[in-house]
């Protein structure tokens, strides 16, 4: 049996029945990593020693028939923009290359408490800015499905790690599609929870009004299980809702009677006809399972990407101001050893030179774009206007959810593309996010689920629900897994 290929549910059952142990599974994952990670570059760092020790403790708990939780002993990977105490956290950037985390992200605290084994840190576009993982300062990640193609991004390392069976599940962050799009590209399940449902404490901030942490899994049921582990109110993140907890229980099976909205704006120009045909085939199957398919309109959807590419860089420019070469991380000050020279070093030069030398090109592009959108004379025309159109986008969803239970769209308009195909043109790269960004702007939850293949390349379907209604995503998602 290939242990690393099992779902969490199958794994937990194997542990419980003593068919295999957490140590055996951990060794299996580490074996796959050793064989294939040099080519895929999904992990930036692997914690072999710690993982073996954590697995051994889990072995003892299962031997005594007293597991800590339904995910005890499950090996998981963490995107390298979330802090794990005592471990390097780079966010895919040279500017954080020397940085060692001084605390655990809340999500990591809760995973450790549940007995999960932290296998390592996964690759990402620098500061989670990108849709292909080509913008990592530590080299691109390759798509395990087709190594000539990108895994999507920004959480490309986590998506690839699950698809390559380098772990049983992984965690990423989603600001404009950074969990759902790589999940679609690698053929796994990716969840972007409701804004305010999962603590962002210990997540290196990109765009604070949009960022949310979520799981990558092999099945929808596993997604629900991990979501129940990480959802909840956290005093360390004041945006978490007092009623954020989620209970992993199947409210209802099947999709019969569920109203599924199909927004026409997501099936127009720019959608690959092969993807369209798979999604339309899936919709027809759901219809014959008893789902009520309803044509709807989200009239402001075509403005989503423009709103996103003003609000996101504005928040980026504020959040990345902290990397100044003075307090932590890389700095031109580290280059000069002599004390007398340091004292002569001009403060302004430290800022300018550090940020030029250690931020990548995309990070600097977005900082400059955001600083522009927020600057005097342009604020009203760009940032303030974008925040108003954002209200329209949210309102579109509010109206839609008065008549449907879930909205169904393709996750990405394009198939996994080849390296370099979009990297030269920032706008072409941004267009890869066109079906995912509105979800973050509106704060609603969404999931990407494998829907089928075009030749050997996976296609993802996106389900969107109203805030705090992830249960509907899991219910409809399970039905999709059965009919696809």
């Amino acid at each position: 049996m290939e242990l690393a290929k099992l779902s969490i549910k199958e794994t937990a059952e194997g542990f419980r029945k003593k068919e295999f142990t957490p140590s055996e599974l951990t060794a299996a994952c580490l074996g796959e990593i050793e064989k294939k990670n040099p080519k895929l570059n999904a992990y930036l760092e692997v914690f072999s020693e710690d993982a073996h020790a954590q697995a051994k403790e889990a072995d003892e708990r299962f031997a005594a028939d007293s597991p800590k939780s339904p995910i005890d002993g499950i090996p998981v990977a963490i995107k390298d923009n979330m802090l794990v105490l005592g471990k390097r956290c780079t966010a895919g950037s040279k500017i954080l290359e020397p940085y060692i985390a001084s605390y655990d992200a809340t999500v990591v605290v809760w995973l450790k408490k549940a007995g999960a084994i932290i296998l390592g840190k996964t690759n990402l576009d620098e500061f989670a800015m990108g849709s292909s993982t080509e913008h990592s300062a530590f080299g691109p990640t390759r798509n395990p499905v087709d190594t000539d193609r990108v895994p999507g991004g920004s959480s490309g390392g986590s998506a690839a790690a699950v698809a390559a069976h380098f772990c049983t599940a992984a965690f990423g962050s989603d600001t404009g599609g950074s969990i759902r799009q790589p999940a679609a590209f690698c053929g796994v399940v990716g969840l972007k929870p409701t804004y305010g449902r999962v603590s962002r404490s210990g997540l290196i901030a990109m765009a604070s009004s949009l960022d949310q942490i979520g799981p990558f899994t092999k099945t929808v049921e596993d997604s629900s299980l991990l979501f129940s582990t990480i959802a909840g109110h956290d005093p360390l993140d004041p945006t978490t809702h007092p009623d954020a907890v989620f209970s992993h229980e199947w409210l209802q099976e099947g999709i019969s009677g569920m109203r599924i909205g199909i927004p026409k704006e997501y099936f127009g120009e720019g959608l690959d006809p092969q993807i369209r045909s798979i999604i339309e085939g899936l919709i027809a199957k759901l219809g014959s399972e008893g789902a009520e398919v309803v044509d709807i309109s989200l009239p402001h959807a075509p403005l989503g990407l423009a709103v996103y590419y003003l609000i996101m860089p504005s928040e980026v420019s504020a959040n990345l101001a902290r990397f100044d070469g003075i307090r932590y991380g890389s700095s031109v000050l580290r280059n000069s050893k002599s004390e007398t020279r340091n004292q002569k070093q001009n403060l302004w030069d430290v800022y300018f030179d550090t940020r030029r030398e250690y931020f990548g090109e995309e990070a600097r592009r977005r900082i400059i774009l955001g600083t522009f959108a927020l600057s005097s004379g342009y604020y009203d025309a760009y940032y303030a206007r974008a925040q108003k159109v954002r209200a329209h986008i949210k309102n579109d969803f509010d109206i839609a959810f008065q008549s449907v239970d879930a909205v169904l769209t393709p996750t990405s308009p394009v198939l996994p593309f080849r390296f370099g195909e979009r990297a030269h043109d920032p706008l072409a790269m941004y267009l890869a996010d066109i079906y995912t960004v509105s979800v973050n702007l509106a704060g609603v939850p969404a999931i990407s689920i494998p829907a089928g293949y075009v030749n050997h390349l996976p296609v993802g379907v996106q389900l969107i629900a109203k805030p705090f209604n992830e249960a509907v995503l899991f219910q409809a998602g399970r039905a999709i897994e059965q009919v696809r």
Binding site: P238, L303, S330, F372, R390, A391, H392
Partner: protein, 98 residues
């Protein structure tokens, strides 16, 4: 509408050093992005309240109590070691006032 002079000004505000070659490249790319976001000019935003926070929660408070358990003393030292320059337990910075 974004010219090289404006790019230099914005880069200065953002405290980011950029080379001459990059000034030209960024000017072109940012211009293309701003051309794209022009679609927003067509939206009617009269009387629309801008969204600052999507869930509408505001002023989430907690007691400002120091939590000594969350950061043991050895970690406090470790935090200082993260600074590029430190001396006698302090973070060293370049001269701020001439």
């Amino acid at each position: 509408m974004i010219d090289e002079k404006l790019v230099k000004h914005i880069a200065h505000l953002a405290r980011i050093g950029i080379s001459e070659g990059e000034v030209e490249k960024f000017a072109k790319e940012l211009d293309a992005i701003l051309e794209y976001v022009k679609v927003l000019e067509g939206a009617n935003v009269e009387g629309v309240e801008p969204i600052a926070h999507i869930t509408g929660r505001e002023n989430a408070m907690r007691a400002d109590d120091p939590d000594e358990t969350s950061l043991p003393n050895e970690d406090k030292a470790f935090l200082k070691e993260q600074a590029p320059q430190s001396k006698d337990g302090f973070v060293m910075v370049p001269r701020v006032i001439e």
